[in-house]
Amino acid sequence: MNSRAEILSRIKENQPELTSLPAELTAPLQYADPVAMFSTVLGNIGGTAVPVSSYEEIQDYIKTHFADQKRIISTLPELSGVTEAGWEGQDPHSYEDIDIALIKAHFGVAENAALWVTEELMQQRVIPFICQQLAVVVQQKEIYSNMHEAYGQVADAVYGFGTFIAGPSKTADIEQSLVLGAHGPKKMTVFIMADS
């Protein structure tokens, strides 16, 4: 008998009587102002929330705050005025020198400031991890209170790769001292776009 058959037969023999799945959690915590909560939590985990009302405003922000950054790329056509063109479709290793990557998120979650991003919003899976700084655009109306609502959105979604990103890359492995920028982005900016 091969290992697969052996393991499965041992499980069948040893697993207890079937118990049913619990009912879904009732009334998980809701925030009166999820956007305010999101911004506070993001600040607590080392990110910066920037409320904006248009893509022009984001472009202006980039021009003033990121003026010294050399390589700025974006997966958002709306920001092509201030970002590099034709960067897509290269070997993932070539993105090593990206200073800032600007991408879009499907939605954000207030309780933990996580943003849900799937492969098609990154162009390349490595983009949000390899860049020195990450900036994400999210619609204000797409900030949910909690993770249950979040998974309500992605329960049946189809993607090759998806990730929740909450703040810049970080570590506290040396004597519990928090350091931002372990391997990935050292900073994270989230542009929260007002409802039009």
Binding site: H148, G160, S169
Partner: protein, 458 residues
């Protein structure tokens, strides 16, 4: 780690030699435990969440056979190659054979307690494959040639000066430099070079979803993602108990995991791998290594619900004061002490006794594993099977003899009180295991029954 024939108490003695370090270790972990409490208290539904998670895991264990088949079929449809390993040896061979087929001799690895349990690094290194651990804490202990001492905080036992010295030796940082910010920046440069040049990456798995065939890896550093997205081959290794039924159940577990582990509301990255990247090979190894046996032990089955948050370690008064290495197993602390005897009851017979049975581990466990009850149950099994420590077995026999006879009990009590009063050095010395770390009590003048007799007659 070669611990010889030492048991937990013996290894803890070594750790306890440096009292200042013990205090520091204790305080640091208590600080993490306090952060967990604060995070848990932000959610009014915390207890309901724990109950929900516990019941989902019960359902998983009761239907594991079908969930694994469902997961395998979906993962294969997604383009992931699924392997099954009965034990550590087979797991290591599978990983090695994948690397060999691709001609890869240098790899990066992100944190995986399963590969620690299987001693994968040693196996690959013996076969001429270089393994670089990319989690900062794991890289530090790897440079120090030590195993991790904690499942979430692998180098929590190390002072920054020691890490500075290691980095000076291996990464060429200036001598005497111990600033965490500086050292982390040096490690970032060192590890980026590895991510960019290694063709294969190994990651662990936090959750695997039967419904969709995808698996989720949680990190704060982003090292699993850097490895996986830059590699030609991604190998993910998981214990068969990591399955959960549906994607939406992740909402429950992701809310609990980081809050229980470090007090964060969620890890920085919670990555869902569904399909390999175009041109990439993705392998997933499902490992048993004693888990099916534990599934059959009704008293210990619950331990398979563990999501590896480490909350039980941070709260454990024994772990905090004896250090992770004194547990001589990949997973230290309370949860490791109920998992290890399943793998080898004789080798790990000491671990269920490395606890006060205070129940704090059970109270913080996000999936409601009855850890302290299982520790107590293991003690009984171990004594019955004859694996108990000789000193403990002799003491138990003496206790049994004394307590079974009223005459012996009375006489022994009287003798004990007399000795403690008149020749205290007979008990207050190193030969008495009870005297270690404790003061002997002031002996009472009379026993309760003597007092009762006297007072009732008057």
């Amino acid at each position: 780690m070669n611990t010889g024939t030492k048991d937990h108490a013996g290894l803890a003695d070594i750790f306890n030699e440096d009292e200042a370090r013990v205090d520091w270790h204790d305080e640091t972990l208590w600080f993490v435990r306090a952060k967990r409490d604060k995070a848990a208290h932000t959610l009014p539904e915390w207890e309901a969440l724990r109950e929900n998670a516990s019941q989902i895991k019960d359902n998983v264990l009761s239907n594991l056979h079908d969930y694994l088949l469902q997961f395998e079929a979906k993962a294969q449809q997604n383009g992931i190659t699924v392997h099954w390993a009965a034990d550590a040896e087979e797991h290591n061979q599978i990983v090695h054979s994948i690397l060999k087929a691709k001609g890869v001799t240098r790899i990066v690895k992100s944190k995986s307690m399963l590969t620690e349990e299987c001693h994968l690094n040693e196996h690959l290194q013996k076969s001429g494959i270089e393994v670089i651990d990319t989690d900062l804490g794991e890289r530090i202990v790897q440079l120090a040639e030590e195993p991790p001492s904690h499942i979430v905080l692998p180098c929590i036992h190390k002072k920054k000066e020691e890490i500075g010295e290691l980095f000076h030796e291996h990464l060429g940082t200036p001598k005497g430099e111990s600033d965490p910010q500086f050292l982390t920046a040096a490690a970032r440069v060192h590890l980026r070079e590895k991510f960019l040049t290694r063709k294969a990456a190994i990651t662990g798995v936090n959750f695997a979803i039967a419904e969709t065939g995808e698996f989720v890896v949680c990190t704060n550093e982003g090292n699993a993602d850097m490895g996986a997205h830059l590699s030609e081959v991604h190998i993910a290794c998981m214990g068969i108990e990591k399955i959960i039924p549906k994607r939406k159940h992740l909402s429950v577990f992701l809310r609990l995991l980081a809050r229980s582990a470090t007090g964060q509301p969620i890890t920085t990255y919670s990555s869902h791998f569904n399909k390999p990247r175009a041109g990439q090979e993705m392998h997933l190894v499902l490992v048993d290594n004693g888990r099916t046996k534990q599934l059959g032990r009704a008293d210990f089955r619950n331990s398979l619900k563990c999501i590896r948050c480490g909350a039980c370690m941070n709260t454990c008064p024994v772990y905090r004061r004896s250090g992770g290495h004194s547990y001589h197993t990949a997973i230290a602390g309370p949860i490791g002490s109920i998992l290890a005897p399943n793998l080898d009851m004789k080798e790990y017979a000491d671990l269920p006794f490395a606890s006060t049975l205070c129940g704090s581990c059970t109270n913080v466990c996000p999936v409601k594993i009855n850890i302290h009850e299982q520790l107590y149950k293991w003690r009984q099994v171990i004594v019955k099977e004859g694996y108990a420590d000789t000193k403990k077995a002799v003491a138990m026999k003496a206790m049994d003899f004394t307590l079974s006879s009223p005459f012996v009990y009375k006489t022994a009590g009287k003798a004990g009180r007399w000795v403690m009063k008149n020749i205290p050095f007979l008990v207050n010395n190193k030969l008495n295991a009870w005297y270690k770390q404790r003061d002997m009590p002031e002996p009472p003048k009379q026993s309760f029954s003597e007092w009762y007799k006297k007072n009732n007659n008057e």
